[in-house]
């Protein structure tokens, strides 16, 4: 390059050449790669994020199965089959609650500055992180369903009416639900930059959302005021769709409603997160 060309021009030409080697998908992919590598290097965290769901799967389903069988007519499946969708939602919410922690850690350590000062879109950073979260949630759901399937070998009655295809759909639903819900955790994280607050807000919402939904019991068995609330609770739509897939079959209305509900609250919560993300340094 000749010296009489202005410096800025020289630099721009150079970077434009380099630009060809990656676009927005490369950016997202790199952020996702980083999150997943971190995840696989802390297997303890992975284990404990599955620990609670498994306790529910094994213990709660046992503890309440008698109550359940006495409450309704004799059914061809156990309570665990009713609870299983709820457990997948709970796992997704739990992982979503933690989504903001990584954000706070990166802001505090200064690693986020590395992303912000690089010539990438800010949205790529958020998208890459959410993609990694989604993959993680899908995998967790897959593991839970797999363990549930193994339990059927020991006499637990879980129909798995839609088989492997249904399982994949539940994994997708759980991932989508989790990513949508991550918006809340990330918004709080970005606004407060405090792990404790992030944890408190997300955790304190988890149980009300679960119990005021159809995640743990079918709608007919809920008190009427809870029924009313459950109709505006996105958790219910996710749980209903997953429950249908496990107990009866492909209920496309329920599945469609679930994705619509997830889309709606996902746009709101992640919209807030994007705004909070854009506001960094402003």
């Amino acid at each position: 390059m000749v010296t009489d060309v202005g410096h800025a021009q020289r630099v721009i030409t150079r970077t434009r050449d380099a630009e060809s080697s990656g676009g927005v998908f490369t950016e997202i992919g790199l952020v996702t790669w980083r999150s997943l590598v971190k995840l696989t290097r802390t297997p303890v965290l992975l284990f404990f994020s599955l620990f609670m769901p498994l306790i529910w799967l094994v213990m709660f389903s046992q503890a309440f199965s008698k109550v359940f069988s006495q409450a309704g007519p004799s059914l061809p499946y156990d309570y665990v089959a009713v609870l299983l969708p709820g457990i997948t939602v709970m796992t997704a919410i739990q992982s979503a609650s933690q989504s903001g922690f990584g954000m706070v850690a990166d802001l505090e350590s200064g690693f986020m500055d590395k992303f912000f000062v690089a010539p990438i879109r800010r949205s790529s950073v958020l998208a890459g992180k959410l993609l990694a979260d989604g993959l993680r949630m899908a995998a967790q759901t897959g593991i839970i369903l797999g363990i549930a399937a193994i339990l059927t070998l020991f006499g637990l009655r879980i129909p798995f009416a839609t088989g492997a295809v249904g399982a994949v759909l539940i994994m997708l639903l759980a991932a989508a639900f989790g990513v949508a819900f991550s918006g809340l955790s990330n918004t709080v994280a970005l606004r407060t930059k405090n792990t404790e607050t992030t944890m408190m807000v997300s955790f304190s919402l988890t149980f009300p959302l679960l119990f005021l939904s159809t995640a743990l019991l079918p709608k007919a068995l809920l008190p009427s005021w809870v029924q009313t609330f459950s109709t505006v609770n996105p958790v219910s739509y996710m749980a209903d769709a997953a429950r249908a897939l496990i107990l009866t079959g492909f209920d496309w209305t329920a599945i469609g409603n679930a994705f619509l509900a997830i889309l709606a609250f996902g746009i709101v919560l992640n919209g807030l997160a994007v705004m909070a993300f854009r506001a960094q340094g402003k």
């Binding site: 970077t15 630009e19 965290l45 505090e108 200064g110 590395k114």
Partner: protein, 359 residues
């Protein structure tokens, strides 16, 4: 540095650009940054700061904690929005052309932004790829940097196992993978042991000398600014109080300095005023000023005048705590411009119950 290390991401060797103070690459005019507002108390962190940095210059911002150094560097590197004023980098406006600016600058922040779960090599690789460099070129650059920064042996260890010095070097490397034209360093040696500090200085000198990189550094160490920078601006309480080469700034004082620290008792204020009066009457003292701990007297003949100062103060029973004679250093420059001694406070990173090792 090796032949390969000077190669640009486009594979071409860069020609040495003409060094002239006329082509300024950083231009800051009347920069103001106000934090807070909207119900909160407003804090003017940067108050009408103007300066420029020439192509290939090693420029330093010297000042104590809270002077506004980090705020300025974050505004120039597009990490923080300004309140008013104009800031341009390589002729590009920070507000309008942020993306273009980010391509040509490197930045190493005050806190070490290294991902502890990734290895040293992975950290550098990730940053390189984020700059849209082709894979092969990134690999090449990463190997070079690991070599130069002496991290080769630890390259495949996770960064949380690194010592403070190693992490600082890795962090510095992350700012250099894409071979920036302008490098911004925010207190690059704060918290480092003296040995590592000297090693980092040596590397920065090489970058500047051999690659003609423009370097903008902030520091609270007088010695660092003196050792490295061709030109410095002293910043205090959000304002630039002096600017020039270290030699110029020291020459402006033009004399030896006798600092007399007064005993800290109830009568401190009176003793200090008394000492100032006395100092001003001593022949050979060209100028005397007070500072927070005592009195500073400027003189052409430090050795001779020191004795006289001591004798007079003793005769007048001024409780002298300590006396020092110094040839002008940046410490004295700072003292002269701010009326305070510069104190270096080592800031420990805040610890919260969820540390950086957790996710």
């Amino acid at each position: 540095m090796s032949e390969a290390a000077t190669s640009r991401p486009d594979g071409k060797r860069k020609a040495a650009p003409p060094r002239s103070s006329k082509d300024s690459v950083i231009d800051v005019r009347h920069l103001v940054k106000v934090y807070g507002g909207r119900g909160q108390e407003e804090i003017k962190a940067v108050n009408d700061v103007s300066f420029s940095v020439g192509e290939g210059e090693f420029f330093g911002f010297l000042g104590p904690n809270g002077a506004g150094k980090t705020t300025v560097i974050r505004i120039i590197t597009t990490l923080l929005a300004k309140t008013s004023g104009s800031v341009s980098v390589a002729g590009l406006d920070v507000e309008k052309d942020g993306a273009e600016i980010r391509r040509i600058i490197g930045y190493t922040g005050q806190s070490i932004g290294v991902d502890g779960e990734l290895t040293g090599r992975e950290n550098l690789w990730l940053i390189g790829r984020l700059y849209h460099m082709p894979n092969s070129l990134v690999d090449e650059r990463v190997e070079e940097l690991l070599e130069v920064l002496q991290l080769k042996d630890a390259a495949d260890r996770r960064a949380y196992t690194y010592s403070g010095g190693m992490r600082r070097r890795l962090d510095l490397g992350a700012g250099l993978v894409h071979h920036p034209r302008i490098l911004f360093l925010d207190e690059p040696t704060t918290g480092l042991d003296p040995q590592t500090r000297v090693a980092v200085w040596e590397y920065l000198r090489r970058l500047h000398r051999e690659e003609n990189m423009t370097i903008f550094l902030t520091t609270q160490y007088m010695e660092e600014a003196d050792q490295l920078c061709q030109r410095i601006a002293i910043i205090d309480l959000g304002k630039i109080v002096a600017e020039g080469s270290p030699a110029q700034l020291k020459a402006a004082i033009g004399a030896d300095i006798i600092t007399v620290r007064i005993a800290r008792d109830e009568a401190f204020e009176q003793s200090r005023s008394r000492a100032l009066e006395i100092a001003r009457t001593i022949p050979g003292v060209s100028r005397a000023t007070i500072f927070d701990e005592g009195v500073a007297a400027y003189t052409a003949d430090g050795g001779g005048t020191l004795l006289e100062v001591l004798r007079r103060l003793d005769a007048e029973k001024v409780p002298v705590h300590q006396v020092a004679l110094a040839h002008p250093t940046l410490d004295e420059v700072f003292l002269q411009h701010t009326g305070r001694q510069m104190r270096v406070e080592e800031v420990k990173p805040m610890s919260r119950s969820f540390g950086r090792r957790r996710r």
